[in-house]
Structure formats: structure tokens, C-alpha cells
């Protein structure tokens, strides 16, 4: 953790394939936002979006890092992964479209609802991806 007078910064590593640990980072982020007395509605939307995105990294990528920045105006969460990437982002954003393995489905995910749900909860969502390299998601939440 590091912070100056205006922003706080946190980082978490995410391990691809490790479902036991999936959600650990989102849980830590939730604790921090609660300590900062962020509005409960904003916390819920933030952590639901972050958790879906974290599960996506665990489900599809080899590894990833979550960078969190909290300022007086907003929360920005960047999930940067090394993995197969998304060949067609528009297709991936469609509800019901999924490339998840049966293992992921056994965990209660992989129904093609993750990315659409992230978009619904985030105030702003940006996705960039390169096939065979990785994907970056940037989720922004505004306090006002």
C-alpha cells in the first residue's frame, strides 16, 4: 500500500487456475473500502464487478495483477493479466457467450454473465486485449 494526500494505491497478485483463492483480492478491497467509509451501494457494485473480473483472471489467464487506486473522486481497478486474450471483445460482452471450462462451471461461473455484469455495475469499463498476450480491464467507480 502507498498513499499521498490525494490517492491510495494497492496491488494484488492473482494466480490463474487457483479457485480456492479466487475472490481473495476482491475481499481485501471490500475491507479497505469499508474502512474508508465508502457508500455501501458503491462498495457492492465495486466488489461485484471486481470479483467477476478476478474470477475471469483465475478462469482464463495464467496470472494477473490487480491495481487499485482510490482518490477523493473515484475508485479505479485495473486487472492486468497474462493469458490467451480475447479475440472478439464484442462477442465476449454478449450475455450467454462463454468459453469457460467445465471446471469453471462447477465453481458456479462460466455462464457468459461475467463481463455483462461487470459492465452493469461499473460506472466506466474499458477492455483491451491482445491474443496470446493478455487482457486488461479498467473498472472506474465515481463517488458522485
Amino acid at each position: 500500500m502507498s498513499h499521498d494526500s490525494h490517492t491510495m494505491h494497492f496491488e494484488y497478485n492473482v494466480e490463474g487456475g487457483n479457485f480456492t483463492r479466487a475472490g481473495y483480492a476482491s475481499s481485501e478491497i471490500k475491507k479497505i473500502l469499508k474502512q474508508l467509509n465508502v457508500d455501501m451501494g458503491i462498495i457492492k457494485r465495486t466488489v461485484v464487478a471486481c470479483y467477476e473480473a478476478e474470477v475471469n483472471v483465475v478462469a482464463h489467464a495464467f496470472s494477473g495483477t490487480i491495481y487499485v487506486d482510490v482518490s477523493t473522486e473515484s475508485i479505479t481497478i485495473r486487472l492486468v493479466d497474462e493469458g490467451p486474450g480475447i479475440p472478439d471483445i464484442d462477442l465476449a460482452m454478449q450475455e450467454g457467450y462463454s468459453t469457460a471450462s467445465s471446471k469453471v462451471r462447477e465453481m458456479g461461473f462460466g455462464a457468459g454473465m461475467g463481463l455483462p455484469n461487470i459492465k452493469k455495475n461499473a460506472d466506466k469499463l474499458e477492455i483491451s486485449s491482445e491474443v496470446n498476450k493478455g487482457t486488461t480491464l479498467e473498472i472506474t467507480m465515481f463517488f458522485n
Binding site: 479466487a22 475472490g23 461485484v48 470479483y51 458456479g108 455484469n117 452493469k120
Partner: protein, 134 residues
Amino acid sequence: MLASAGRAPETGRDLIRKNRMKVADIVKLLDGKLICGMDRLDYTIEVAFASDLMSDVLTLKNDHVLLITGLNNMQTIRTAEMSDIHCVILARNKKASVEMLELARDNELIIIECRYSVFKTCGLLFEAGVKPIF
């Protein structure tokens, strides 16, 4: 009105007050076992949702949700944590693992194990007057 002493309520209708049901009464109705959240018997739920698909649970906006599921893994607990769901029923004899219980305890979750199927669990709760979300 309270059910007469010593006799189990026949439909569970006696257990609901103003569309809310206490954890203690849910356990009684389902003949369940409270395995986490022993000190939260008075917590009340307002609506119920049954799913094994956690992405679906993560779309819910309501408060005081009771989750009925047959999915017993860490993501069940994590999903409850992220969705601010305080009470989870593991149906059809699904048992919470030690890791799940530890995480549930950290998050002050209420976990009820129940031998009935998801269908019967939902049926009994619905019959008792617990409201669905959709």
C-alpha cells in the same frame, strides 16, 4: 400468533412476521442444522433466491436475501460476501468444508445445512410465505 406449544407448525405460516423470517424459524421449518452464525438466530430475511450459478446471484440488488444453493465450494461463500448476503442454505446434505466455514466465520455469515432438496427447501419456504425476488 405463536404455534401451540410442543406441536410443530403444519405449514410454517406461523413463522413469518411482516414478510420476514428469523434464522431460528428457518432452521426449525427445514429441520436444518445451523453450522455458522450461532449468535445470529434473530437475523431476519426478507426474500429468497435459489441458484447454483453464482453469476446469477451476483446480479441481485436486494437486501436481506436468503440464498438456497446446492453449490458447496469457496465461491459460494465469496459470492455471499460480495453480494452482502448474510444467510445461506446448503441444501441436499451438502456439507461446508473447513475452509468454507473459516471464511464464513470471518464474514459473519449464517450457514444452514439442510437435508431437503433445493426444490423441497424452496417449497417449504414459499408455502410459509417467504417472498421470491422475481
